[in-house]
């Protein structure tokens, strides 16, 4: 591989910054790609990777910095112009129109048909007809078609966002081979992936983002994985107080688990997940984005039906057709996206009292004093700032999150499903949420806690399961769940080690 590449930069982004309201998504992101290079763009969840990609591809306009493609300024406001300047992205979701056939999609994008078909064949897809409807093709094929469509216009820079995520192994190999050929032929590629093995095989350099800024730009060489993991995590930040319960861990008491899941599968992403959650326990769930954790929580909260596997609650098998069924069994859900959970135009009180009124028998007159007492209790417990009582959307993110949790505290918590409860909220509120979670557990609640911030496992959980590719790949006790271990496991590296040890 050509490390000593001194060719001029084809794509040069420097000091790119972007704010959304009060939140800085990017502060100082930079990326340089030269002709004939494959550069990996890496970063942990929330590092600003997706925002950076949107800016590079023209879907967002940056607040600061510049993006130059072949020396021309390219901070454009729409994808069409970015394409014209020579950068063609392949997004995680295919950008083909599902209700049109292949030929129409090509025509829509002004893609030449001959080279497209050649690339499709080259990439290992057989039997594609131009009158196949996009909506009828499997996801893996669509991603390949997206790639073939991009290659057919001979772009200067190809941006592949998690290109290999939904592909079977044989197609992955074809893609890697073709991408490498592109680079060898003098084109440039930006490669975004969670898979170290592919990056090691394919890339020349890696640019690493952390907290909205580029922290390193290193050549890929054997054994670089550990260094990259370290860079993505950053220096160990000032730690909160680690609150792990004393005495015998809840999962070792031999009691019936509150929630016992086995072999659970749903949709293409959730394949085979099983775990036991005991009363008094906080079980962490760690996974990279899109490894099936969303589906897991959706199934447990009654939003989605399982394709296979069992869910037992206190030893009894259960299945849910509606969230109301899950709630009746004591499974209450706090989703990651607060906009999904809150009545934004309504008051704190109405939001917290909502589950109390859900059943038909509570449709009548509300006992206002009783309600005020229960809501008041939840507000006190969570220290919700109620100065802006009127509408929940005027509260800060942290207070909004407290309201969604408070809703279930007002009804009494049995099993709480928390999906990334501290996403995008301030440090002070975070520090209030961890002890609260611990306290609820000590009072006998069972809590499933997905987090995208790895240090939270030691701050709030007793154990953690790690999900990769729709399966549980590791179970780690909080005592051993330092970020390094979790990150390795989440990237499937631990599993890889084991496989290597066996072979």
């Amino acid at each position: 591989m050509n490390e000593a590449n001194s060719a001029p930069a084809v794509l040069d982004a420097q000091g790119v910054a972007k704010r959304f309201g009060a939140v800085s998504a990017l502060t100082d992101a930079s990326l340089t790609v030269r002709a004939g290079e494959v550069v990996a763009l890496m970063g942990a969840n929330g590092a600003g990777k997706s925002t950076f990609v949107k800016i590079l591809t023209g879907a967002l306009r940056p607040d600061g910095g510049h993006v130059r493609i072949k020396g021309r300024d390219s901070t454009v406001g729409n994808p069409a112009d970015a394409r014209k300047s020579g950068l063609v992205p392949i997004y995680q979701e295919p950008s083909l129109i599902p209700d049109l056939d292949v030929a129409d999609n090509l025509r829509l994008g002004n893609t030449p048909v001959e080279p497209f078909l050649r690339w499709v064949e080259e990439l290992g897809i057989e039997g594609l007809r131009l009158d196949d409807m996009i909506g009828d093709l499997p996801l893996a094929t669509l991603r390949i078609l997206d790639l073939a469509r991009a290659l057919a216009v001979e772009p200067d820079v190809l941006l592949l966002d998690e290109m290999t995520a939904a592909l079977p192994t044989n197609l992955v190999e074809q893609v890697l081979r073709v991408v490498r050929q592109q680079a060898d032929a003098g084109r440039s590629v930006i490669f975004i992936s969670h898979r170290f093995a592919e990056i090691a095989q394919l890339c020349d350099r890696a640019t690493i983002l952390r907290d909205g800024g580029t922290v390193a730009d290193l050549p890929i060489e054997p054994g670089i994985e550990e260094k990259i993991v370290e860079l993505m995590l950053g220096a160990a930040l000032e730690r909160g107080h680690i609150v792990t319960s004393e005495g015998q861990p809840a999962h070792a008491t031999g009691r019936t688990p509150r929630l016992a899941v086995s072999g659970l599968s749903s949709g293409p992403k959730l394949r085979d997940v099983g775990f036991d959650l005991f009363p008094g326990e906080v079980l962490g769930v760690v996974a990279l984005e899109g490894q099936g954790q969303d589906e897991l929580f959706d199934v447990l909260s009654g939003f989605r039906r399982a394709d296979g596997g069992t869910v037992r609650i206190d030893g009894q098998e259960a299945s849910f057709r509606h969230p109301a069924d899950a709630i009746a069994k004591g499974l209450t859900y706090v989703p990651g996206n607060r906009a999904e959970a809150l009545l934004m135009e309504r008051s704190v009180r109405e939001n917290i009292a909502l589950p109390l009124l859900a059943r038909i028998r509570h449709w009548g007159p509300i006992r206002m004093r009783d309600e005020a007492a229960r809501v008041g209790e939840a507000i006190d417990k969570l220290q919700i700032d109620t100065r802006a009582q009127g509408e929940v959307q005027r509260l800060s993110g942290g207070n909004q999150q407290k309201v969604t949790i408070g809703r279930w505290i007002a009804t009494g918590v049995e099993t709480l499903l928390l999906f990334d409860p501290t996403r995008g909220i301030d440090v002070r509120t975070k520090r209030q949420i961890y002890p609260l979670v611990r306290e609820l557990a000590e009072r006998g609640a069972a809590i499933l806690y997905y987090t995208s911030e790895l240090d939270e496992v030691q701050l709030a959980c007793d154990r953690a399961i790690v999900i990769f590719n729709g399966r549980v790949v590791d179970v780690v006790d909080a005592a051993h769940a330092d970020e390094q271990t979790l990150m390795r496991a989440a990237y499937g590296l631990t599993e890889q080690d084991r496989a290597e040890a066996v072979s």
């Binding site: 729409n78 129109i97 599902p98 209700d99 025509r107 829509l108 196949d132 009828d136």
Partner: protein, 316 residues
């Protein structure tokens, strides 16, 4: 692949249903023949145009509740202008009315794009506005239509006795639709209805495409209004029951509410099916009001079926 077949199968199925209905009609009324087909075609004409108008915006992922009101505006404009005008003047009048239709549709589309108010609300408000405009132009049924225009849709042609109305319909729809369907613009209309995000990423100007889709809807609505004036000889300011009928025909014709799927042939065949059902009921001397009920029930049932199917497909 399966859906490619099944999509055609849906339209084929509609043709079969239509054929069966013709057989039923023949059994009910043994002397049902060319003249029956002719009056069916004539009665279906405004419905067919309304349905074509609705189909275009539904394919683009929208809906236009003001279709019937725009037809009324076109109808009264034509009738008022043609009263006392010479036959030759009728041609520029027709063209003017079509242009007005395009403008009305474009206004609807532009309001949706600019105000960001949902299409259903904007077109509901515009339903009232266009209705008001029609009333201002002509506050009671009246006006006239050029004789040759009326003659254009009455009777059959020498060709196998195919009704003239059917030819007019085919020509008008095909002239607009065929060049559009295969063009990049037509594909864009399908694209924004199918997956707006993917369309945006593919570099389609979503807003502009939406406005054009509504403008085409307005054009078809204007044709519908003209056909009303042509078949009755007067302008009618109060819109007929074309809104619900067009939604029902669109759904029955295999265009999914939500966009991206279907074409114009299915919905237009569906119009003939719905009209023929009505005709059969009349032939069986069922009270016309009962016929209205049956028709309304069929339409509501079809729309509900469409809703259930949409839920199903969203789940799978």
């Amino acid at each position: 692949m399966m859906r490619l077949i099944s999509k055609n199968r849906w339209t084929m199925g509609l043709f079969v249903v239509l054929a069966l209905l013709f057989v039923v009609t023949k059994i009910i009324q043994p002397d049902f023949g060319a003249s029956g087909v002719e009056s069916l075609a004539r009665a279906s004409l405004p419905f067919a145009f309304a349905t074509a108008a609705m189909a275009v915006v539904v394919i683009a992922g929208g809906i236009d509740l003001s279709v019937a009101s725009m037809m009324a505006v076109a109808s009264v404009t034509a009738a008022v202008l043609m009263q006392g005008a010479s036959d030759a003047m009728a041609i520029p009048i027709v063209i003017l009315v079509l242009v007005i239709g395009v403008i009305m549709g474009a206004i609807n589309g532009a309001l949706i794009v600019i105000t960001k108010v949902p299409d259903i609300v904007v077109t509901l408000a515009m339903l009232f506005v266009w209705e008001g405009v029609a009333l201002l132009i002509l506050n009671a049924p009246g006006g006239a239509a050029a004789d040759w225009l009326e003659a254009l849709i009455v009777g059959g042609t020498g060709l196998l006795g195919i009704p003239k109305a059917l030819i007019v319909l085919a020509v008008c729809v095909l002239v607009v639709w065929i060049p559009l369907r295969r063009s990049r613009l037509g594909l864009s209309i399908y694209a924004i209805g199918s997956d707006e995000n993917a369309a945006f990423r593919s570099g389609i100007a979503v807003g502009r495409t939406r406005i054009i889709a509504y403008a085409i809807c307005g054009l078809f609505a204007a044709m519908g209004g003209l056909s009303l004036t042509m078949s009755t000889g007067i302008g009618e300011p109060i819109p007929g029951p074309y809104l619900l009928a067009s939604v029902a025909a669109v759904v029955l014709g295999g265009v999914v509410l939500g966009g991206g799927k279907g074409g114009l042939i299915g919905p237009i065949v569906a119009v003939f099916i719905l009209r023929l059902v009505r005709m059969d009921l009349t032939l069986m001397s069922v009270d016309p009001n009962v016929t209205t009920i049956v028709e309304g029930t069929i339409m509501v049932a079809v729309v509900m079926l469409g809703g259930v199917l949409a839920i199903r497909s969203a789940r799978s």
